[in-house]
């Protein structure tokens, strides 16, 4: 994790403290958008794929929600779910943080891999869950990213990864750092196999994850407003004299700097992915005209 407070700086959504919600609204029925401060009924919020109906802000999703919102119904089949983090360095409070994250998320670690279809296109899908220690990449997340890519190669399938991570997981020290090299090397193999690799950057994609497999896609998509950057706010402030621009390290700012191909609304992502994958794999439409021989 980066040594700074980017998660404090820009968390657009937060469960509304009960006192702030209209007293007549029972607990859990509504949340308050931290971006626009409007109250949103949970029912509407979920129907809107957790995008604020008032201001359009894209709320972070759990891996389960992301998969449900993305893949064709019934097509998901999870892989490598049995991988678990260990505490190789006996690092302060790592065991208890892991146990708590497992309990809160119901996941083995913060990265979920499986096969699925999106718009009828079969693929290997990987999704990071930011709730699990900030989506940080330790040995398990790194291994699962690599296995996702190797699975793509073995089954001759495109690979789509949704990123959301504070970076390398400090608690596994150098073992975490090396996951950057390991995932980058796997991305190189995937590229040599000429299989499409699409990265969808979601809030937040930072540090060691952005500086490894997240920046090596054939195509980089991002959700609107996602925080995407190398260093956290505190480190940037130490390294830079001038004040960052208002939109610094947003998906929009990164797109303006040439790092992102397209910013796609959450509801349009499945369509965008299937369209891109069909274009990249060169499958000609049945009703193609004269170019089809």
């Amino acid at each position: 994790m980066p040594p700074d407070g980017w998660f404090r700086r820009k968390s657009k959504f937060a469960p509304a403290p009960a006192a702030q919600i209209d007293a007549q609204v029972p607990d859990g029925v509504a949340i308050k958008c931290a971006q626009c401060s409007e109250i949103i009924f949970t029912k509407d919020f979920e129907k809107n794929l957790k995008v604020c109906p008032h201001c359009g802000s894209h709320h972070r999703l759990t891996a389960e929600e992301r998969i449900a919102y993305t893949v064709d119904e019934g097509s998901w089949s999870e892989l490598f779910a049995n991988l678990r983090s260990v505490d190789p360095l006996h690092f302060k409070e790592y065991d208890s943080k892991l146990a708590k994250s497992v309990q809160v998320t119901g996941l083995g670690d913060g990265f979920v891999v499986g096969t699925a279809a999106v718009g009828g296109v079969p693929l290997v899908l990987g999704v990071s869950d930011f709730r699990f220690m900030g989506g940080s990449m330790g040995s398990v997340a790194g291994e699962k990213v690599v296995r996702a890519m190797e699975e793509g190669i073995a089954r001759h399938l495109p690979v789509v990864l949704f990123t959301a991570s504070g970076g390398a997981r400090m608690q596994e020290g150098l073992l975490s750092l090396m996951q950057m090299a390991k995932t980058a090397a796997a991305a190189a193999r995937l590229a040599e196999a000429k299989l499409p690799y699409i990265v969808v950057m979601t809030d937040a994609t930072m540090a060691g994850v952005l500086a490894s497999y997240a920046s090596l896609g054939d195509i980089h998509l991002a959700e609107p407003g996602a925080l995407i950057g190398f260093a956290g706010a505190r480190v940037v402030a130490q390294a830079t004299v001038q004040k960052p621009p208002e939109d610094y390290q947003t998906a929009e700012w990164q797109m303006g700097r040439g790092q992102i191909d397209s910013i796609v609304l959450r509801r349009d992502l499945p369509q965008a992915l299937s369209t891109l994958l069909v274009l990249l794999t060169g499958r000609t439409s049945e009703n193609a005209g004269g170019l089809n021989g």
């Binding site: 690092f91 400090m170 975490s176 090397a185 796997a186 830079t240």
Partner: protein
């Protein structure tokens, strides 16, 4: 004269050095009334004492002591090693896209007669150099220059040697604007399939992605007192204890020493430093580094490109510790 470049735990040595140097001056001056025949014996005794003290001090270095040694302002930097190890060093500047980053030097040279490409972080020795070299924190242009020179090496079949010595990659807004993350990622991506041998040596600080960005090698070595870490101890302490001053606790927690890196199979070997650290004898340090380079490069030279790349992949592929639960 007391020096500003002496670490706290080196102070007793510095005092001895001062006394020794005074005695040597007296011995050298025939007219000095204090120059008596028994001085030579005194000097020998003092030198013996100094060696014993240094050995004792360095047998019990903490991880934080190692961080300080790795950052020692008198420690040899990449260009110091390059100057004494290689022949015909020819520096190549610029990334052909935007700028020439002084934080990473790159060029061609000969190692014992063998043409190679050499790439290394370069910290500045004085204030002006430090500013010009961004304190050894590479900007995107540095990684892209490294990539360009590696591709050049691949084209002509030259082995690549990288020397790692950086606190971290540049983290300012300008670096972000020009894609520092992509530059690091791309460098690792390209190194993973580079069809020539690569040997990397962490000579001082191996600061997270800024270090690993040019260290995806067939053989990765560390100098005895170098450090390699996922995060600076100060940053780790700020997170763990909300107190950057607990950096020595953080240094211990991070397992950032060469000895631990070897035990964790992150690196392939440790290069011994002169007693008291590399900064006490640059020539001896350079000789050790050269010997290690030759020893590690030699077995790689005969390997075919596909074999090299496959072995390099497997080497990093294995890194990590986790368990796989039995299916329920």
């Amino acid at each position: 004269m007391a020096s500003l470049n002496v670490l706290d735990f080196e102070k007793s040595i510095a005092e001895l050095d001062e006394n020794l140097s005074k005695l040597h001056q007296i011995v050298a001056d025939r007219n000095n009334p204090q120059n008596k025949p028994d001085l030579a014996g005194q000097i020998a005794e003092l030198e013996e004492h100094r060696t014993a003290l240094l050995s004792a001090l360095f047998a019990n270095l903490t991880p934080w002591d190692k961080v300080l040694l790795a950052r020692h302002v008198k420690r040899p930097y990449s260009l110091d090693y390059i100057g004494s190890i290689f022949e015909d060093w020819t520096e190549l500047h610029g990334d052909r896209m935007f700028a020439d980053d002084g934080a990473i030097v790159a060029g061609l040279a000969k190692l014992d007669g063998l043409p190679v490409a050499v790439i290394g972080h370069q910290k500045g020795r004085d204030l002006k150099q430090r500013q010009q070299r961004n304190f050894g924190s590479a900007r995107p242009e540095g990684f892209r220059k490294a990539g360009r020179v590696m591709r050049l090496a691949a084209k002509f079949g030259l082995p690549v040697i990288t020397l790692i010595d950086t606190a971290a990659a540049a983290a300012d807004i300008a670096a972000d604007e020009r894609g520092i993350s992509e530059a690091i990622a791309r460098s690792m991506f390209e190194m993973a399939t580079l069809p020539v041998p690569i040997v990397s040596i962490i000579i001082g600080e191996g600061g997270s992605g800024g270090a690993l960005g040019i260290a995806v090698a067939d053989r990765v070595l560390m100098l005895e007192h170098a450090v390699y870490s996922v995060i600076p101890p100060e940053g780790c302490a700020a997170i763990l204890w909300r107190d950057p001053d607990r950096k020595s606790d953080a240094a211990a927690a991070l397992n950032l020493t060469a000895q631990r890196a070897l035990e964790l199979s992150i690196i392939d070997g440790i290069i011994p430093e002169p007693l008291g650290g590399a900064h006490r004898d640059w020539a001896e340090s350079a000789e050790s580094v050269k010997a290690a380079l030759l020893q590690n490069l030699r077995p790689l030279i005969g390997l075919s490109a596909p074999t090299l790349v496959a072995q390099r992949y497997e080497k990093f592929r294995r890194m990590g510790r986790f368990t796989e639960m039995e299916a329920a």
